[in-house]
């Protein structure tokens, strides 16, 4: 696991062909690691019949309203896989 609770991270702003679990509204947005859930199989390969290995670290990342929309929640919590996160 690269990141720890409290680390600032940015969601990678890249396109991805095919199934992935990183919502478009978060790409390029910065947040903070709130929880480290552990390691989980990768849905991007599992969706196509693969075994999802190697497992990827999964983090809960919290985003403040001003990173999203004026009407967003005070904090928005999203679970994101490590390969979508960059140090910020």
């Amino acid at each position: 696991m690269t990141f720890r609770v409290g680390d600032r991270v940015r969601v990678s702003d890249r396109a991805h062909e095919g199934h992935h679990r990183t919502p478009g509204y978060l790409k390029g947005r910065s947040g903070r690691v709130e929880l480290v859930h552990g390691e989980f199989t990768n849905p991007e390969t599992r969706a196509y019949g693969g075994d999802g290995l190697p497992e990827e670290a999964l983090y809960q990342v919290v985003f403040a309203r001003d990173e999203l929309w004026p009407g967003a929640a005070d904090r928005t919590y999203v679970d994101l896989f490590e390969h979508w996160l960059e140090a910020a």
């Binding site: 990183t22 509204y25 552990g38 999203l68 009407g71 967003a72 679970d79």
Partner: protein, 227 residues
Amino acid sequence: MSDHDHDHDHDHDHDHDHDHDHDHDHDHDHDHPHEPIAGAESAIATRARALEELLVEKGVVQREDVRRNVDWLVSRSPADGARLVAHAWVDPDFKERLLADARAAALELGLDPGPSPVVVAVENTEQVHHMVVCTLCSCYPRALLGPPPDWYKSLPYRSRAVSDPRGILDEFGVELEDGVELRVLDSTADIRYLVLPRRPPETDGLGEDELAALVTRDSMIGVAQPA
């Protein structure tokens, strides 16, 4: 998905007289115990049915597995989640365990927490209100709450829960007091989220079963207060 999507699906003349070869058993002559269900079918139900047909035909899934999974899903109900909540309301030590590991807490009460490896319960308090969405599809703690309501799967809820959650709460009739922090949980991966709502006032004399009866499905999604 409607209750009638599976097993007794297609019409009488579904004999698949394709001219291509099938190298597997291609018997669609199911034993239907009744006449086909009449009535309009939603587009999504038609798509689900077509997908199931193909997957069964190609041997990817067994019809029996689909039926068993649907049976399991529709047998789940928010009553299980409500038991968790009511027990947490009356037992502070259990509440701590629930908030630390909801999966283990469910097992402790003899409830089925489902296949998700991690279930997280979040507590609504006087200071903080949580609500849950899955912006990408319909991830939901089905084992503890049963099938999600249709609105939970709708595009308007999924998009507005992150862009305009206070507007949604307003439409559901939830008024947050000034200064209450609103937190939205977007379940995008393997984790399932369950809201532990606030215990209603003046319920000190109620037993656990009576308390559980106050806990609604929507209050455990975070778009309602217990009645």
